[in-house]
């Protein structure tokens, strides 16, 4: 049995990302990292696989820059890694992405759980996870903050889910797709042995044809990337003899700006 997770390489959160004169998005020579939300889903996949005597597998969809995230995952302790790609594949459309993801899960076989990070900090968002669940026809459990129980024999899972106005406890049928939140666990750092082993790993690449998928034309298109308009702001420093005077002046300014 397998527990599967997806990851991708993204620019580090501290990196400046910009659109160049040709309209390409870049971040200079700065190395990519594992999508920050995926630290938690990778860790949870390792833990759930150990607890349920399953094999942990990690997949990425995209060009070879995503090998970095896969190698990091292997170094953390994921047991298998695969990448889905072929030249000219357009995965900017979430439906195309989810169709490939669902087909890859089927190809792996005997998968009971797919665990995603909450979202991706590049161009992918959270809709990829929801659409993968729908393409698989599996239960979707989003914003999971704790996995309380997994009973493979009974085919059930019990989780705590975060809502904007509180928390729910949910029981559900497996197989299921989960998105997990920051705080569900404390992600481990890869150790030296793990890094050495991962650096030697050869990651199989599956094409759409390998997955038995022929993608229809994408339903959405990326027209262009732009830099956000610079904030046209002239900063006014509020002076005063003491805190009270500064506070009074600031409140005056905020009332004038009609934001209170």
């Amino acid at each position: 049995m397998r527990i599967v997770t997806f990851t991708r390489s993204t620019p580090d959160t501290a990196t400046k990302v910009e659109v160049d004169a040709k309209g390409h998005v870049g971040w200079g020579d700065v190395a990519t990292v594992v999508n920050p939300w995926d630290e938690y889903s990778l860790e949870e996949t390792i833990r759930q696989a150990e607890a349920n005597k399953a094999t942990s597998a990690v997949l990425a969809i995209g060009p070879d820059m995503h090998n970095e995230a896969l190698k990091h995952s292997l170094a953390m302790g994921l047991q298998e890694a695969y990448r889905i790609w072929q030249d000219g594949l357009d995965v900017s459309d979430s439906l195309a992405w989810a169709t490939l993801a669902a087909a890859a899960v089927h190809k792996l076989g005997d998968v009971r759980m797919v665990i995603f990070g909450k979202e991706s900090v590049d161009t992918a968002s959270d809709q990829h996870a929801y659409q993968t669940a729908r393409k698989l026809g599996w239960t979707m459990l989003s914003y999971v903050s704790k996995i309380l129980a997994v009973d493979l024999a009974a085919g059930t899972i019990k989780v705590e889910k975060l809502l904007e106005e509180g928390k729910q406890v949910i029981t559900a049928k497996l197989p299921a797709v989960l998105t997990v939140m920051k705080g569900i666990n404390e992600p481990r750092y890869p150790n030296f042995m793990g890094i050495r082993k991962a650096s030697k790993a050869v990651i199989p690449v599956w094409s759409a044809a390998d997955l038995g998928v022929s993608l229809p034309p994408a339903s959405t298109q990326v027209v262009a990337f732009m830099n956000p308009p610079a904030r046209q702001v002239i900063t006014e420093i509020i002076d005063g003899a003491n805190a009270q005077e500064k506070a009074a002046k600031l409140v005056e300014k905020l009332l004038e700006a009609k934001v209170l």
């Binding site: 900090v121 968002s125 049928k173 027209v223 262009a224 956000p228 702001v233 805190a243 600031l250």
Partner: protein, 343 residues
């Protein structure tokens, strides 16, 4: 053009305020065509009149017991069925945790395009074009969806205005049947623990946010506290920033540095790995303004920075800056606001 659907999100038996922004966008893009509000869940029928006042021409409601607590499966199944049956040109909603999931799932069922987080939107010649953030707000992306068939659209909360309320308007209300019965739904909600009285960051018109500087609290920790800096910061969030938030009706935010240091819980985090916010007023207290934080709050209309360090990058984004100790400025600000706002 065929009709335009607007999805009204029901939370605790009431329409969320942001839902009316979806009706505003729907009305604008419909360009004269019928705007149909969809209302599922508890109290749906009684919300229908409000939807009419907010700009719906007709309303489809479903108040079945399977929908009284939100779950993606029955919601998405019903949404996909209504879209398949009525073939609206557009299905418009305001992006929240629930709508993102429901829309993505319904769109996947019929292989319909979905564009999310739009803060600019146009619809012409069957083509939907949006501008949305990418790389967590560091750049922008223009995307389009064309061709025949319904298109799903989620706009950012607070990016568009609702229609003017008109209580004289009325709408045809039609009750629809749910698609899934309880035994066809794979999830059960066992319990719910509400967090009451908290203003949501993503809905807030005003946000008061604290950063690493919260640890400079002059208050003396009680003896035996394991980490005095954490105690000071927590005490500062609760007893210095919260009162300012209360007088303004504001939500309480925090930088990642403050969350990672254990000063405040993660649900308050603003920034690239937290929440992306766009209030009218953002008051940053003791926040230096790292690039990750900027990505999450740069769409705020007016930014105020309070920081000891006059070189902090946050001042470059701020319309008004106060150089000083937040533990002196914030209490003075709270007192002044109480006086001026008559609270």
């Amino acid at each position: 053009m065929s009709q335009v659907f607007a999805f009204v999100e029901v939370v605790g038996g009431q329409a969320s305020a942001a839902s009316w922004e979806a009706l505003g966008v729907a009305r604008r893009l419909a360009n004269g065509a019928q705007v149909v509000a969809l209302i599922f869940g508890e109290n749906a029928a009684s919300i229908a009149q409000e939807a009419a006042a907010m700009g719906a021409d007709s309303v489809l409601v479903c108040e079945d017991a399977t929908l009284s607590v939100y779950r993606v499966e029955p919601y998405a199944a019903l949404l996909a069925k209504l879209v398949s049956d009525h073939q609206p040109a557009l299905v418009v909603g305001v992006g929240t945790g629930r709508t993102r999931e429901t829309f993505a799932s319904a769109a996947a069922e019929t292989n319909s395009p979905l564009l999310t987080e739009a803060f600019e939107v146009s619809y012409e010649d069957n083509t939907l074009t949006v501008t949305r953030p990418a790389y967590a707000g560091k750049v922008q992306q223009k995307m389009s969806a064309s061709g025949p068939g319904p298109k799903y659209l989620l706009v950012r909360g607070r990016a568009f205005k609702p229609n003017e309320r008109d209580d004289a308007r009325s709408a045809n209300v039609t009750t629809v049947a749910p698609v899934l019965s309880e035994d066809q739904i794979s999830t059960k909600v066992e319990s719910f623990e509400a967090e009451v009285g908290k203003v949501k960051l993503t809905d807030a018109a005003i946000i008061v946010s604290g950063g690493r500087g919260m640890a400079n609290n002059p208050a003396t920790p009680p003896p035996g506290v394991p980490d005095p800096a954490v105690w000071k910061a927590q005490e500062g969030f609760a007893n210095v920033l919260q009162p300012l938030a209360d007088v303004l009706g504001a939500a309480l935010g925090a930088s990642r540095a403050a969350v990672d240091a254990g000063y405040i819980s993660y649900d308050h985090q603003v920034g690239q790995t937290g929440k992306n916010v766009n209030p009218d007023l953002y008051i940053a207290c003791g926040i230096s303004g790292a690039i990750q934080h900027q990505a999450g709050m740069r769409n705020s209309k007016l930014i105020v920075a309070i920081n000891k360090d006059s070189d902090a990058p946050i001042f470059k984004m701020a319309r008004f800056g106060v150089v000083g100790d937040l533990y002196e400025i914030v209490p003075a600000l709270t007192a002044e606001l109480k006086k001026r706002l008559g609270k």
